[in-house]
């Protein structure tokens, strides 16, 4: 690092410029990563945080899953409930509806109504017993959006319901807060219920508590005419989640690739600029390996400084904006992309400084 540190000191303008570029790219990548995770949570936290192990959709094996299209029947629910390797099976209705709290100014908000059985374990914090005919349990986000608290009356899809409790945790489905209502109430909201409820669709999916292996679950699916997936897999059944997540992930991937190319291009030009100096050092007896180590060390220093400052700035920005934007602030959303930026940047720099091996020490004898 003898030469590397002195080059950094001597060419501080150029390296500062490069570091600033890295800071900006890192702010973009890490903030986007934080936003991607936040949007994913806003889209699917009500699915991934369910206390069940699996969800059974009324779709044949291999078909695309959708909470919008799935309608499980009573027979399918009961088929799963009857299996010995399933400790519990509960129907779960999912529908996006309109809600308002007339007493709090009448603002109408979109919410996702989860229809559950009385005493259901699918309601957070043991609030399942609060879900009865004529009542609703609201998530913290729904309570905030509607301006309603426990004991207030809210209007959900034209049904007047009393807020029995506000769940301590947040739950969101497709960017809308969740409210929990009785399955009968949920069925009365529209196409999923009515006269058909005795024999027709009873809910959207069946939530399963099971430790059965894939083979046993496949047999259960074949018998019930369903498709069973884990909770993370069920995220793809939330409309727009896959497209939204893929778009943001592709943007991050492009930014990572661009940053590696920018670092590679910078160090290519830098190495070419100092080819004469490197030829002299080689002529003095310096080995290619030691020069490559020195140059790579320099690149890693610049990368760590730029990425470190960029990640810190993005974390501060995310912390300030977390009330207005759905962001997640944790080691995975900031540490992983930052580590990837350093790793890919090092690869880019390595590709550039490798040309040191081709520098001929004989060139030191030429006048320059």
């Amino acid at each position: 690092m003898f030469l590397a540190l002195r080059d950094l000191r001597h060419a501080r303008g150029r390296f500062t410029l490069m570091t600033v570029v890295l800071v900006l790219v890192t702010v973009l990548v890490t903030f986007l990563s934080s936003l991607t995770a936040g949007l994913a949570r806003a889209s699917t936290s009500a699915v991934t945080d369910l206390p069940a192990d699996r969800l059974a959709f009324a779709e044949p094996a291999g078909a695309a899953l959708s909470f919008t299209g799935s309608q499980v029947s009573r027979a399918q629910w009961q088929a799963w409930g009857a299996r010995a390797d399933v400790s519990r099976a509960e129907p779960l209705g999912v529908a996006t509806v309109r809600a308002s709290a007339p007493g709090a100014g009448g603002t109408t908000e979109a919410v996702t109504a989860y229809g559950v059985l009385p005493g259901s374990r699918l309601v957070p914090a043991g609030r399942g017993d609060d879900v009865r005919a004529g009542t609703v349990v609201v998530s913290r986000g729904a309570a905030s959006d509607l301006g309603a608290g426990a004991g207030d009356t809210v209007d959900v899809q034209g049904r007047s319901l009393r807020v029995a409790a506000v769940a301590a945790s947040d739950a969101e489905f497709s960017h809308t807060p969740v409210v929990w209502v009785g399955l009968d109430t949920w069925q009365s909201f529209g196409a999923h219920g009515g006269e058909a409820r005795a024999t027709g669709p009873v809910a959207t999916v069946v939530a399963l508590w099971t430790s059965a292996d894939d083979t046993a679950l496949a047999a259960g699916d074949a018998a019930a005419g369903t498709q069973t997936v884990t909770l993370p897999e069920a995220r793809s059944a939330v409309s727009s989640f896959t497209a939204e997540n893929l778009s943001l992930t592709v943007m991050q991937a492009f930014l990572l690739a661009i940053s590696a190319l920018v670092v590679g291009a910078f160090f290519t030009v830098w190495t070419m600029n100092r080819a004469g100096d490197l030829a002299v050092v080689k002529a003095l007896g310096g080995s290619t390996a030691s020069l490559v180590r020195d140059a790579l060390g320099q690149a890693v220093l610049v990368l760590v400084a730029g990425v470190g400052v960029g990640a810190a700035l993005a974390a501060c920005a995310a912390a300030l904006a977390r009330d207005a934007i759905p962001v997640v602030l944790d080691a995975a959303t900031f540490g992983v992309p930052a580590a990837l930026l350093v790793a890919l940047g090092t690869v880019g720099a390595a590709a550039a400084v490798w040309r040191i091996a081709r520098i001929d020490p004989h060139a030191a004898l030429q006048a320059r």
Binding site: F2, L3, R6, D7, R9, H10, A11, G276, D277, V280, V281, K282, A283, L284, G285, G286, S287, S290, P361, H362, A364, L365, Q366, A367, R368
Partner: protein, 232 residues
């Protein structure tokens, strides 16, 4: 230790044919002596210096420092670099100082290349800078030094590794006669004091008053009557 060039030949590919840049040159430079290698442009002086320095392997013959062969046909670049570190100090036609290093750091670099900490070589570096009259310029970057000062830093740098052999390539080409003469005098004095066999390439005879011997290279061959030089 003496420098021996033993029947050194260097042939380059040249289009469809070949070009003999150095043709069967044998030369011994004794320890402490400075031999000037003279000749017109294109005579092969720089090619011979490149072979002596291990920057180019010869087509035939060998370069020895004392009894050790340091460059011969088939010598790998890595081994030649190790031999340079161990035995050879190089002064180039231009000073070839690194722009980001101060005068003192130019000398410390040679210690770093030998796997030593720069601070461990600082005392010797200062001593050498004083020996070339630059003890007050150690913190200056090359851009802040004059041409003559830069060349003297380059000479001090070449001596940092305590070489057995000093190879100097036209050190006066960018200097006027007075400063060129001073530089040659500095090289010969330091070589004599430190027992270094020195081969100094030059095309400027006016600056060579202090050298111990002169040899002439014409068309890659030494002039026969002047080929062998040594003390006394």
């Amino acid at each position: 230790m003496d420098l021996h060039l033993d029947h050194v030949t260097l042939v380059y590919p040249d289009g469809a044919g070949t070009l003999t840049a150095v043709d069967d040159v044998s030369l011994t430079v004794a320890a402490g002596m400075t031999t000037a290698l003279l000749g017109p442009s294109g005579a092969g002086k720089s090619s011979l210096l490149a072979v002596a320095a291990g920057l180019t392997p010869p087509t035939a013959g060998a370069v020895l420092v004392g009894d050790a062969v340091v460059n011969a046909p088939g010598t790998r670049a890595r081994d030649a670099a190790r031999a340079r570190l161990a035995h050879v100090g190089l002064v180039f036609q231009q000073p070839q100082l690194l722009g980001s290093l101060t005068a003192l750091e130019q000398l410390e670099l040679t210690a770093v290349l030998r796997g030593r900490r720069p601070s461990s070589a600082r005392g010797r570096a200062r001593e050498l800078l004083a020996a070339v009259g630059l003890e007050h310029e150690e913190r200056r970057l090359p851009a802040a030094l004059s041409g003559g000062q830069r060349q003297r830093v380059a000479i001090a740098r070449a001596l940092m590794g305590e070489p057995d052999v000093l190879l100097v390539d036209e050190p006066t080409s960018a200097l006027d006669t007075a400063r060129g003469t001073a530089v040659v005098r500095l090289v010969t004095t330091l070589a004599r004091e430190r027992g270094i066999a020195t081969l100094l390439v030059s095309h400027d005879e006016d600056t060579l008053g202090d050298v111990d011997a002169r040899v002439h290279l014409v068309d890659g061959r030494l002039t026969p009557s002047l080929a062998l030089t040594g003390p006394g």
